[in-house]
Symmetry: none
Subunit: 131 residues, 4 copies
DNA sequence: GTGGTCTAGACCACG
DNA sequence: GTGGTCTAGACCACC
């Protein structure tokens, strides 16, 4: 289901968050779908259950998923689209050095825009339906 | 000269790297310009000298700056534009979750492209000359 | 009859207890009234019968309701008003962090007192008769 | 500094949160004060560092405290008083069953109001200065 | 079965 | 020194 790289410098729990968010956003995971239990997921990606739990809790805090007591964890019916200015600024702040790095690696503006396009394609057709 | 946020979750040494790279890229810092010494810089931004030193070392490794023993640290004559595929993949990898987060924060594709445009504007006129 | 939120962090059985206590206190449920059977209730609020059973048992332990074997569950004739010091301390203990949280959420003392007033209103006219 | 009851049903990390919030609110801990390090605190209250860490992170998420990388954890300069409607509703939701329980334990409205008064006294004089 | 809490201990990045 | 991450395993409440 999802792939984790234990050697990556980005923490495992963040990788899980990223991957699941992506799947939710793409529509592979639809609202109401049940996620693997903490134990199942930890077995699948060969990590400690605590690590998965941490990821799930953060995703819940962000409103992407929700847990029903004793029943499991599910994709939320509708991800709230709070237009959070602070969050947006934070993202822009992270975006800038990334783009500058890209330039130093020999990428130009047009190519970057094309990357965005690629990501759009990859996320794809489901997106329109969802929003 | 540069502003650091000690509360940020991004390490201080990385913030220094980002800021200096940005200044170099914008052309505020031109090839041959002398950077403040590690001590001066650490006094300016109120951090441990080791932190500044770490940032300088990394910038040197990336070819952005050079240290001339006994004379100081200078902006390199020409930032080498190594087209490093690995680096590019890494950047793309970091870009994706950022963009997905942006969507969840209520930003759409067009706005993101506009951000890129804004960053381009901000970096400004020197850019064309350099590329 | 009663509404349960399966997403809430407070356990379902506790929610049932709270709601039924509230109804008893308001006078909607009067002494001698028959409660839905465990099965009926669990069907109504879509939970596991065990969960309802647990709530009923706890309410019985507190003297709010009584089960007459083979006949069903009923609201007790008179809720005993055991002045339980331990219980009171426990409640005060729980009250304090709640009020501090309220302050941090921007509520002041007067508003909190008004909340109490509101709850009093909501519980309403029957109360005087019962006390 | 703070007292924890390992037998209590409320999790240790929540007890830490409550106590520290209380101290901050009372003004015992002032903005800028350094908190004991995770290790120190865990030694003081005899728990695992992870448990303290969890409490600190939640307090940071709530804006009560902040961590400066590699330097430690400090009381925030000014606790943001976001008037969060959702939070307020949640508190009211938790308040109601508590008050009903109080009634069943033989406490009346006036006494509850007096409790609030007591808590106000206890939190005391610093409060006015802070707000 | 589910997730939530906690312990004991380890390693690492950061300043 | 600081906090952040992770593991291995345990116990518990809830459904």
């Amino acid at each position: 289901m999802i792939q984790i790289d234990p050697r990556s410098s980005t923490p495992i729990y963040e990788q899980i968050i990223h991957k699941l968010k992506e799947l939710c956003f793409k529509g592979v995971l639809k609202p109401g779908d049940k996620l693997p239990s903490v134990r199942e997921m930890s077995a699948m990606i060969i990590t400690n259950p605590n690590t998965v739990s941490k990821a799930y809790k953060e995703l819940e805090r962000q409103g992407i998923i929700e847990t029903l007591r004793g029943r499991g964890t599910f994709v939320s019916e509708s991800a709230r689209k709070t237009i959070d200015e602070g969050k947006i600024d934070m993202i822009k702040e992270q975006l800038k050095p990334l783009i500058i790095d890209a330039f130093y690696a020999g990428v130009d503006f047009e190519q970057i825009k094309q990357w965005i396009e690629e990501i759009k394609e990859e996320i794809g057709s489901e997106t329109n339906a969802r929003n």
